[in-house]
Symmetry: C2
Subunit: 337 residues, 2 copies
Amino acid sequence: MAKKYNVCILGATGMVGRQMIKVLDEQDFPVNRFLPLASHRTAGQKVVFKDREYVVEEAKPESFEGMEIGLFSAGAKVSKALAPEAVKRGCVVIDNTSQFRMDPNVPLVVPEVNPEAIKRHKGIIANPNCSTAQMVIALKPIYDAVGIERLVISTYQSVSGWGKEAVAEMYDQVKALIKDPKAKIEAKYIFKQIAFNVVPQIDVFVDNAYTKEEMKMVNETRKIFEDDSIKVTATCVRVPVAIGHAEAVNIKTKKKISLDKVRELLSKFPTVKVVDNPKRGEYPTPIDCEGIDDTLVGRIREDISQENGIEMWIVSDNLRRGAALNAVLIAKQLINN
Amino acid sequence: MAKKYNVCILGATGMVGRQMIKVLDEQDFPVNRFLPLASHRTAGQKVVFKDREYVVEEAKPESFEGMEIGLFSAGAKVSKALAPEAVKRGCVVIDNTSQFRMDPNVPLVVPEVNPEAIKRHKGIIANPNCSTAQMVIALKPIYDAVGIERLVISTYQSVSGWGKEAVAEMYDQVKALIKDPKAKIEAKYIFKQIAFNVVPQIDVFVDNAYTKEEMKMVNETRKIFEDDSIKVTATCVRVPVAIGHAEAVNIKTKKKISLDKVRELLSKFPTVKVVDNPKRGEYPTPIDCEGIDDTLVGRIREDISQENGIEMWIVSDNLRRGAALNAVLIAKQLINN
């Protein structure tokens, strides 16, 4: 009989944590013991895994005794404190936070893109940022075929990327403004009013006036492709959408590639779906991707402003592709290695 | 005493038309006779100009007898039919539709950018598309200082760019989804559900798989700068915002320019306001621009992915800057020539 694993989920009450539980089941991951963990604040809540109810326990160093795989999604600080404790106890950590992503000792993995990196892990494997994950999947077949020289990215990111409090904030703001268009809106989780607005700030600013989110796209893309020669710039923008990130990506390839070839390569690539028929008004939008595993790619066209240029529009469920699904696929790859 | 002009507004009951009436007053334009015109459908409605109520008349060729300046904003078809009739009767047409923009006999003008083009008019002067107008204003001082080689643009455009029916549609969809998250949404004016979604299509598709809106940005930018060597690509996206377009613009200049210089030039440029202090969380968002004349520029930073690269974020009230204000400023320039 195939081995089953003791799996814990840290941050089990969050939006990503709940998706992780769902995807573990959907992907039929061989789970022996299942342990949902969370901070003191939400411990005691209940979650359901494979039709059985579990009480979420407070995460402590001892929680990881006997655990073999830990999916972490409770924020960078929690990962910083508890990942070493888990590793010490023999639990491999698949971490969805930014804490270890750029650590040279930690592989940063999208299983469809760089599965081989998993083998180099020393106890921790990092999940990339959601906006990076969906992009590198759509770029991978192009990268392999003709190389990538430069990327200019603009994102349209949903509020769920900032957690369930941000989603609630958006709906509260929308309701207040529908009731009274002059309602005074105070932003708590997102930096500005997000209802009927867009906010060009995700995460904090760094010294070069980019945001951390933008620099994640730059640095994580290079790390995943193991290619520091790729030039990347990004503007990351929050939009009033609940779930699903969209990205306008302008690509300069190293060699010429035809659009037919791009479409063919993308169509064949696992977990990518081409939705691209402008004449029929077919292209993906965020509401089309909610709850599905595929990364949707449309608006594929030759960039009229440069040689070897391609424009594309990439849409994916940020909670799944960029987080829960990616983590579970890493776990599957890990146990198959 | 300074001369006063007989001014008619075609499309007086639309969102832009109403702003035109407001801006004519705000800008203290010397109006003698004021004549609001519209299609048969909305003729008979009332509008207020300088505290006086006017009944909107149905636009016919004869309506333009005795008129000296006509501000047109009733759609390309109406302009096609009636602009020649107005010109024939001695009325200079300032046209806000796409009908004549690329006509070599028609100047395409943003008064702060290429006022001299107005002098070449033969009866019709075109207003650029709203998304182009706000961008070229923010680019002009940079263009003059160091030249522009290439632009990669992603837009975040409000629904009012598609008219008041589109704004109503957005609010109706939002209300329906707040009441019932599973409500079936049918899009009529915007191509897909726009509530809690973003739609990467504005106007119809053309042969190269760009949309007309995207090609407007390409072609109008070149025409306004009278420089076909500028390379431009754009992805135009509708977002669930009522008023105010935002644009992430990646610029490659011909020569090096410092960020301090960019900020200085922009700060001095008329109708541009720099709102850019990331450390204090200051940058413009669409709700900040509603009802104001200035184009707001923030997120100014050196593009880390190329030599001579600048990233910026440009926000403006599309009904004013991109339409009503631009038209009235053209009219002011015209009577001063």
